[in-house]
Amino acid sequence: MSTTENTTKAALPAMTHTVGMPRHQKIIFVVLLAVLIALPFMVYPVFAMKVLCFALFACAFNLLLGFGGLLSFGHAAYFGMASYVCAHAAKVWGLTPELAILTGTATAAVLGLVIGSLAIRRQGIYFAMVTLAFAQMVYFFALQAEFTGGEDGIQSVPRNDLFGLLPMKDDLTFYFFVLAITYGGILFIYRITHSPFGQVLKSIRENEPRAVSLGYHVNRYKLMVFVLSATFAGLAGATKSQVFHLASLTDVHWTMSGEVVLMTLLGGMGTVLGPIVGAAIVVTMQNYLAYLGAWVTVIQGCIFVIGVLLFREGIIGVLSRILKKPL
């Protein structure tokens, strides 16, 4: 989060020329796809889908923090609100999964536009606090509003036929739909960060006054990346509500905003793979440590302490430094 950390890390990816993908990254994306295709045959498909949703959520967050240099403490608002709207659309309006997810995502985009346009007027800790404050408002809205079902959440959300044609009841079938969304989302985020727009973002992150002096409308870029990040967070949240057939207060609570920060930092902020790895680790801990009962939080805490002490730049960040290649 500190600026010194940013500069050292940014020096790596920013210097590479951005026409096309470097060869090793092409390989990474192919291997990633292969792993994700094999995943549901190795672990439980619903769990695999959860990993995908959180991977996309963390990548969306990383777009804002790692590339835009903006630390938001309120990303649960977009994630959670999109999941509520998607669940409502599928259950009450009977929309097909792709339309329900799009409705949820659009809601997150609008929410991102409103909150973002106000939040980007402040910087640093004030920015973080403004996003947190808005996220709390969204939380209280979700708690009080009639359609969210308060504490009970929206339950028994149906998974209708995709495009009104393909049955999606089977978890393994739905996994590949979720995979398409997540993988597409991650590629899109990669494209954004390696576009001229992404380069301008990096320059703003490194030195905002200089970017202004070069004639960039800094606030427009910031707003744009904020809205994009909120949109992808919404896409992840909406997809999650279809995976689990439910939307609940957990997804809109501030702890969820904290979890996504942890995922990104643990995996490696500003890297392509980092958030995916971070999300996989956190979600795996939550699920597979559940059998340890009361010890789950203690072990989680220890792992985070170790992570912070040994991998200051995140797991992928450290790997990237050792291999001297942006990952």
């Binding site: 504490e151 689990f244 957990t250 997804d251 009962g293 009361a294 010890w295 789950v296």
Partner: protein, 399 residues
């Protein structure tokens, strides 16, 4: 890594003697083991389930029972994922406990999808046997409607005929207030007013002063958890109970009262489905339980024990682990166990048993750390729980 409590392994000789009789069942206790509900459910519920298996003497009856447990961290997605995995891959036959409404509703759906059995003890939402009822759900211990009914009726009958509500400002709080208001008015009482406090709240002083100024005989606390505990603490600071008004907690557990202490909570009235110090049988059970956990069982843990016992009886009667046959048997047989006494399970899955209106003892009356409650009255199951006809459970009303 997986904590397995393999309880009963029928010896090879017994297997050889009667191979046809052995039935394997696997119980999964899914609850909060590290968060705010860990004391009232948590590890204690796992112990309660194990005690039920031992007391039933499942081994000698040819039933092999294995118990596994997990912490759902109060997150519905984690609960739903674990439930799915348990049913699909680990061969779990029945899931027990599951506190908090959102996780319970999620598990109820997954259970119906896999056609297994869900015996809930920890969750409050009456939706489990109403709008979101499932043929595979059995709701054992309590629900919001029974607490509202129980406290509302019993307190009004006992002379507390004017009420003022302190309500947590969200769906749950308003539902509790609405249900209780209906009961109070039906029993000839009057509601003088109510005030909504933010959720979660920390400062209740202005709301408590309004309640005090209303002059109502009873202040109903339509909130839960930390909000209830904090409002009771602050009410004690204002001396509200000493000044003659009664506090009625609508959702409160023995563990909450214990953490408040008799000094602070004295005079508070609450409804509970179980109290450890009711008769010889509950005392005997609680003594064994306390030896393991260090505290007497909460009503949620007692419900896990009773639910497991009734389930095992049904397994014995059916002679297999066929879920639909077992659920049918459970609903057909009367429930009878040392903790809840006699009762029955309605078609919609609601277990009907007596509830009790309790009052927190004063420090002078209390003789021990856990000697906290005295019984004011018994509320019969028919009075406490909402009639099935008003519940709106479609499959139960259809036949």
């Amino acid at each position: 890594m997986i904590k397995r409590t393999a309880l009963m392994t029928v010896a090879a000789t017994a297997l050889a003697a009667a191979p046809a009789l052995a039935t394997d069942v696997k119980l999964g206790v899914l609850n909060d083991q590290s968060g705010v509900y860990a004391d009232l459910s948590g590890e204690g519920s796992v112990v309660a389930a194990r005690m039920a298996v031992e007391d039933f003497d499942a081994e000698s009856k040819g039933i092999n029972v294995e118990i596994i447990s997990a912490d759902h961290q109060n997150k519905p997605d984690i609960a739903s994922n674990i439930a799915r995995q348990w049913y699909d891959q680990d061969g779990v036959d029945v899931i027990l406990d599951v506190p908090t409404s959102s996780t319970a509703l999620a598990v109820a759906d997954v259970t119906a999808e896999f056609d297994k059995i869900f015996i809930n003890s920890g969750a409050a939402t009456s939706d489990l046997t109403r709008g979101n009822c499932q043929p595979t759900t059995i709701h054992w211990t309590y629900d919001t409607a029974s607490l509202a009914n129980g406290t509302g009726k019993a307190v009004t009958d006992a002379g507390g005929d004017t009420w003022f509500f302190l309500t947590a400002d969200y769906a749950f709080g308003h539902a509790l207030e609405r249900d209780t208001t209906a009961v109070v008015e039906a029993n000839g009482g009057e509601v003088l007013g109510s005030v909504a406090h933010p959720f979660p709240g920390t400062d209740f002083s202005s709301f408590l002063l309004q309640a005090q100024a209303s002059g109502a005989k009873v202040i109903g606390l339509a909130n839960a958890g930390a909000d209830t505990v904090n409002s009771i603490k602050q009410a004690a600071e204002f001396g509200i109970v000493q000044a003659g008004q009664k506090l009625a907690g609508l959702l409160l557990f023995i563990n909450n009262v214990h953490s408040l202490g008799a000094e602070t909570a004295q005079g508070l009235q609450m409804t509970t489905a179980f109290y450890w110090d009711m008769n010889d049988e509950t005392r005997e059970f609680s003594e064994r339980f306390q030896a393991e956990i260090g505290a007497p069982p909460s009503m949620v843990q007692a419900g896990v024990y009773a639910g497991t016992l009734h389930y095992l009886k049904a397994v014995e009667a059916v002679g297999s682990n066929d879920s639909s046959a077992i659920v049918a048997k459970m609903k057909e047989m009367e429930t009878d166990d040392p903790l809840f006494g006699k009762g029955y399970i309605r078609k919609d899955g609601r277990v009907i048993h007596d509830m009790y209106l309790m009052e927190v003892k004063s420090p002078d009356e209390s003789t021990g750390e856990w000697d906290l409650l005295k019984q004011v009255s018994t509320i019969s199951g028919e009075d406490a729980f909402l009639p099935m006809e008003e519940g709106g459970c479609e499959f139960a009303l259809a036949d």
